[in-house]
Assembly symmetry: C2
Homo-oligomer: 215 residues x 2
DNA sequence: TCCCTGAATGAATGATCATTCATTTGTTCT
DNA sequence: AGAACAAATGAATGATCATTCATTCAGGGA
């Protein structure tokens, strides 16, 4: 307990007092992105200031401009970070399992409602950016590309799954869009009222949708 | 055509040059809310300034503070305006039709994807506020209450519908939550990439979900 | 017609904030 | 060790913005 510390508080080291240490570029950038996620989740996109971010990271005023040039570029990288993270876990499901399509679908539903994904901070950041897509072409582009990638992979998966079961009467594109929309909506529900829509219930709703399709 | 004018441009009158006219409180407030919707849709919640709003409304600097006290209060009233407007149309469906439950469900799906609701400006505003719910308790409260109301009415409707068909094996709460989440997700898709997800497709996906339930 | 009331105006104010850059400090190479 | 380089700092700057309030003006009652 004595050695525990909050994620981004300045390290309470035994040695001198708060040394400043040069870090590889990539590591500093990651640290700043993480701090940004925390701040945006807590204060929202509109109210998050550079001072909030650098304080959260335990660093100095000019550090963001040094590593990202401008605040806006940091925000864009933060959005990319969040989408890339989701995509990595998503792709892993396809690679890991060379098992049956049905197993993959099951794994995706579990992934979408795993603690890794259903995390109020990350959800808040994701929807904060989505809330600005109409106004900011760059956010729109990143989010749309992300959604598109996911949908294409889901479409192929559903196609393979339904061909196997001899069902040709349904449009896989529609089903993939439906599943994506449903999960987005369920995440939003969880963000909005975590009491009412628990993760378990959301997973059940998503699973019901999927099993309604494949039976 | 000669007399047409954009909604909020300063009235191009034949008389003098831009008279200033006192308006009933409620009318001015509505005018400012409408201007806010336009601005938030165009520039986003974060970047919308008081000057943007008053310019859009064709009024002077201090007008918002006169009618809403602060910018934040104007934003809250704008959110309420958007949710109330949806709710009014929604309630009307229940009142208008004393017809079969199935007809009501059909009307709701049509309503949710009618031009009145699927309007990129209003969708942008709705999601702009949703994007800030984690950070702003007042937005969270308004949005959560709205979603809750809708869900309760939908739950009752589905219950009545399924009782009639003798189906007792399904949880109506789950179905209502699912439908709400699905529509939210579909709206988001439309906002994000209007090309890919057309309104017609979205309606079809929503209707597929519903008919999967009631059969 | 002439007040009187309150709606509307907009210049001025002060607070907030992103960005800059001269200086400090850590790291690496010889 | 110490020179050379790069990373990090943070006080200073200038821009942006919400809010204030003294003044202007429209409309209705006497």
């Amino acid at each position: 307990m004595a050695t525990s510390e909050t994620a981004n508080s300045p390290p309470a080291r035994a040695t001198p007092a708060r040394t400043r240490r040069a870090l590889p570029r990539a590591e500093r950038r990651n640290q700043l992105i993480r701090a940004t996620i925390k701040c945006v989740a807590k204060k929202g996109l509109a109210a998050t200031t550079m001072a909030d971010i650098t304080t959260e990271a335990g660093l100095s005023t000019g550090i963001v401009n040094l590593h990202f040039k401008t605040k806006e570029l940091l925000l864009v990288e933060t959005l990319r970070f969040v989408t890339d993270e989701y995509k990595q876990g998503f792709d892993k499901i396809f690679v890991d399992k060379n098992s049956a399509d049905l197993e993959i679908v099951r794994a995706i539903v579990n992934y979408d409602f795993s603690p890794q994904i259903v995390n109020r901070n990350k959800l808040a950041v994701w929807f904060a950016f989505l809330g600005e897509v109409k106004a900011r072409p760059i956010y729109q582009k990143i989010c749309a590309r992300h959604d598109n990638d996911i949908n294409q992979q889901l479409g192929a998966l559903f196609a393979s799954l339904l061909k196997r079961s001899g069902n040709h009467s349904v449009d896989v594109e529609l089903i993939a869009s439906g599943y994506s929309a449903l999960t987005d909506g369920l995440w939003l529900d969880i963000l909005l009222s975590p009491r009412r829509t628990s993760t378990a219930i959301a997973r059940e709703v998503a699973w019901q949708y999927v099993s309604g399709i494949i039976n």
